[in-house]
Symmetry: C2
Subunit: 246 residues, 2 copies
């Protein structure tokens, strides 16, 4: 049976990390909230899991994955579940935990990217917190962006599975869901903060090589060219507000 991914139908957001994993593996899945109400899909199908008191283990928020009777929320937990099933993580427990640890660090980074434009919280509009966003963005560009990228670069450099002139991976010598997520973060940074991203990525050639290698992955390249890939926009996590780019 096809996996059911439940996420906002008009943005990449956190759902995109899951979409990339499912697409890279060529897995059968439904992007439920983008489907037809008449077919039992659409936003109503998503709301059921979040609001219906008959759901024994409801997710706090989307994205969540439904696989038969299983309902799994939290992007990183979805990856933990899908990784072995999709062949997107190593076989050893040590590799699986390390891949998950990297994914959680990517999740932390994504929270900080989101808070760039919402430093006072997601319940206020960007326009209502613009001076605060400008201050937070300056700190992010100066401190946090280089710090996170340097860590990804360091673990790529220290991964003994990587060989010169080949696409580097975060764990071992094979593509993992963490590679796909880091690809997405680099894509998002290029969209949201083109100047700051270009400057920061000059110092992290392995991160750039990973990104470029993932973009050339056959199934990922086909997905990115398809209409299944939603565009970045100012409704998502990565938003292009030029004033935040310094």
């Amino acid at each position: 049976m096809a996996y059911q991914l439940h996420y906002w139908p008009t943005i990449q957001g956190r759902g995109e990390f899951v979409r990339l994993a499912l697409e890279a593996a060529g897995a059968a899945y439904l992007d439920v909230a983008r489907g037809d109400d008449a077919a039992g899909q659409g936003m109503g199908a998503m709301a059921h899991y979040l609001e219906d008191k008959a759901v024994p283990r409801p997710p706090f928020a989307c994205p969540f994955l439904v696989d038969g009777k299983r309902v799994i929320g939290q992007t990183a937990a979805i990856m933990l579940y899908l990784g072995p099933r999709l062949g997107l993580v190593g076989k050893s427990q040590a590799d699986r935990l390390w891949t998950h640890q990297i994914q959680l660090t990517i999740a932390d980074f994504v929270v900080e990217v989101h808070d760039l434009h919402h430093p006072l919280g997601a319940t206020l509009y960007y326009e209502d917190q613009k001076p605060e966003a400008l201050r937070r963005a300056a700190e992010f560009r100066k401190q946090r962006l280089p710090k996170f990228l340097a860590w990804f670069e360091a673990i790529l450099e220290r991964n003994p599975g990587n060989k010169p002139a080949r696409t580097p991976h975060l764990v071992g010598a094979k593509l993992s869901y963490a590679d796909l997520s880091l690809f997405q973060v680099v894509e998002g940074l290029h969209y949201a903060l083109p100047k700051a991203a270009k400057k920061a990525l000059k110092k992290t050639p392995a991160v750039v090589a990973l990104h470029d290698g993932v973009a050339r992955h056959k199934r990922i390249a086909a997905y990115l060219a398809s209409d299944r890939r939603l565009p970045f926009s100012e409704e998502g996590i990565f938003r292009r507000y030029p004033e935040l780019d310094g």
Copy 2:
């Protein structure tokens, strides 16, 4: 061999979630950075794992756990690793994933509690972002605090393992690491936002009952009364700034 926990030596912070799990299980552990430099402990021992280029899989930040050759960062990943070893998670894969999903949602909540006093980022002092913190705190008290607590209450109500007049648990009928972490969050809210916490917790009696039950746990009660338990302070995640309490 004793587990090595590496975390800032003077605050509870995120390390406290790990400490509570180790303490509840009666596990042997070293709180390394609080130890003696002369014994190979102290801050230098922690810095080694974060800074030494010879560490193949360095954590991004503390807390991290060292267990023999394993070095595990990210609080939730540490719990994922320790849970089965300490008997603080159910045996089925479904229970383990659900417990982890709850832990990740607690982690999200903790980020928002931290950002109350640091809406513009952790690299600026609270005093440099006070007006922003006041605005963010108002949103938190009104929207986010009740929303998170209502979710914990709902999953406690829906857990078929819970029986009337007994301490409720988040998963099944036994204490899990997620219960311990939710206990810590309630403790922290009482410290940081006593008025707002009291008001919000009136609507979530199962969360209160879980908290009170964990506080009576024999090993936890002994730990809380010991000098191993650091006090809450304005250096940690949960900070008492009365102006943020409304």
